[in-house]
Assembly symmetry: C2
Homo-oligomer: 347 residues x 2
């Protein structure tokens, strides 16, 4: 039925081993033989059997990419960059975890089952001990299997020492810069619509925000900070609801920061609905600088993360095409992008 290695071998009048060697190219084969084999491959329209090859070689050419949801451009951009970096040697298996630790574990098991060559895990980690342990175990198992695990936008700390590489995001730094920008414009009462409470990204961004406040003596006590902060998913709706809630708690707000751009857009929508001008009455800022942020009105002030470059780097690390950073972890910088949604508060 299907053409196999043996068929090609027969046609080229060599052994199967030789054909295999020509195709994988990791063993010397005389030029004449090689051309003969290649011709046979061509004539028979031979396509190698991936599973058979993976079984024999004990590794596949699949690379897992775990994301919250590829439909979200934040993850879509990273997934795309990883995939593109793989070229046509490796295939990217993308898995939507929806941010659920269980599903993350499930997919890691499936990738283990596939004997994936590498796995890139993007986005926040959930910060609970049980999950951390389960995750570490699974990652250890993967590593033991020869699968290179690379964390992208997630702290390496949660993983077993040495088994993992990480490209981390300057979330804390970015959060700090953003709030400093607001403070330097003259804002004193700044609301914050944060992400889900138990995630690393949420925590880091929020810590940066609070560090900036504290540095300017604006923090207030914990109660005060809590009053100006609401948590919710990284969605537009969360920004919308959060802004309404914050306005309710503290009508004197002059600025609201969103945990990401989608949240910021939701904040804008809520403010507009309340008849407030942006940035005249209230300034708004986001995080990530996704493509649509520049086209929003007003154009969103935000923090740019070089997602594409970082993801490409993660992919290269995953494939062992690039030297690992010192300590196995690497930090990509966050850059403030000041646009029209922030301005000095009204006097």
């Amino acid at each position: 039925m299907a053409v196999t290695l043996a068929d090609v071998a027969a046609r080229a009048r060599v052994s199967a081993a030789t054909v295999s060697r020509v195709l994988s190219g990791n063993y010397p084969v005389a030029e004449a033989t090689r051309t003969r084999v290649l011709a046979a491959v061509d004539e028979l329209d031979y396509v190698i059997n991936g599973p058979a090859s993976a079984l024999a070689a004990a590794t596949s050419d699949l690379v897992g990419v775990l994301v919250n949801d590829v439909a979200d451009p934040f993850f879509g951009i990273m997934a795309s960059a990883v995939q593109s970096e793989l070229g046509s040697e490796k295939l990217a298996v993308v898995c939507n975890t929806g941010g659920s630790p269980e599903r993350e574990l499930t997919y890691l098991t499936l990738l283990l089952r596939q004997r994936a060559a590498a796995v890139v895990i993007t986005g926040s980690a959930v910060e609970t001990p049980e999950y951390a342990a389960a995750s570490a175990a699974k990652v250890g198992r993967l590593a033991a299997n020869g699968t290179q695990v690379v964390l992208l936008g997630r702290p390496a700390s949660a993983a077993p020492e040495g088994s993992v590489l990480a490209v981390e995001f300057g979330n804390r730094e970015g959060g700090r810069r953003l709030t400093e920008h607001l403070i330097s414009l003259g804002h004193r009462r700044i609301g914050y619509v944060a992400g889900p409470a138990d995630r690393t990204t949420t925590r880091h961004r929020l810590e940066g925000h609070r560090a900036a406040l504290a540095a300017h003596g604006l923090g207030g006590d914990a109660g005060e900070l809590g009053r100006l902060t609401v948590h919710g998913p990284y969605t537009r709706k969360s920004g919308y609801d959060g802004a309404l809630e914050l306005l309710d708690r503290e009508p004197g707000l002059t600025a609201v920061v969103g945990s990401n751009d989608a949240v910021a857009l939701g904040i804008c929508a809520a403010l507009r609905e309340k008849g407030l001008d942006i940035p005249g009455d209230v300034s708004v800022a986001g995080f990530d600088d996704l493509p649509f942020s520049a086209d929003a009105t007003p154009a969103l002030t935000t923090v740019r993360l070089p997602l594409q470059e970082a993801a490409a780097r993660a992919a290269r690390l995953a494939l062992g095409r690039e030297e690992s950073p010192a300590g196995g972890r690497d930090m990509v910088p966050a850059e403030l992008v000041a646009r029209a949604s922030t301005a000095a508060p009204r006097a």
Copy 2:
């Protein structure tokens, strides 16, 4: 080293065959035996070897998803929906073709090599005979291999009869509705920034547009139509450049239609830069109704395609979980979404 079926079998004091049967569940196994096996699996932390299983069973649990670029939300949404629909039985291999026929063929070959269970090919097809033939051949090969091929947003016509299922988009219909909307508002000189010239989606949307014009006696001759149409990629920049070009050719335009939302946003940017008000001076419309379109200012009039539902359907068809539509093809409707970027032209 690694735990294998045989290890589990030994521990459960059954044969490997029995373990395999318990795990795949397609053969009667006595309840007592089953529990014993499951216990052994658990105790040994056994993870089945995917490649070995795929080799023996001659099919893998991979499903290919071909997209132009997952970073583009249009494709990201579809890829996400397909992936989610697969559940945790099958894995989605997503491939960025960048719209290139060669890369599309390359990835189809890679998926053939993996013995993929199914392949979902999204987006436009390039309309050249050589490509059509090559593509048909590859698809035929896949089908012969037992891989179900489903076209999503691409006409089934290009594929070999019967070997393929298709979920098509109402591009022509949507294009027609959109332009009819503009005409009914009073527009007579309507520019069109189309997609790349040789793609099915581009052609269908443009045909719909022109059908609407013709139905109202507005088409003019071919030269006239050509003068009001520019082609370019489906990008924001293309919209920006295209709008400038159109304005140059025909300063009296009162409306410009973009081939998709990103293009429309580019058109908006160009118009704004020219000091034109939207929709006061010029109306703008897009296509696809991606999430960001509602947040643009003014909110974009566009055509909604139920991408998520369509993609989920495609995935179900791919897995054989849903009855195929009559004739193997199915058409999802396009719906006009009139928002603030279109209005009656100035008198």
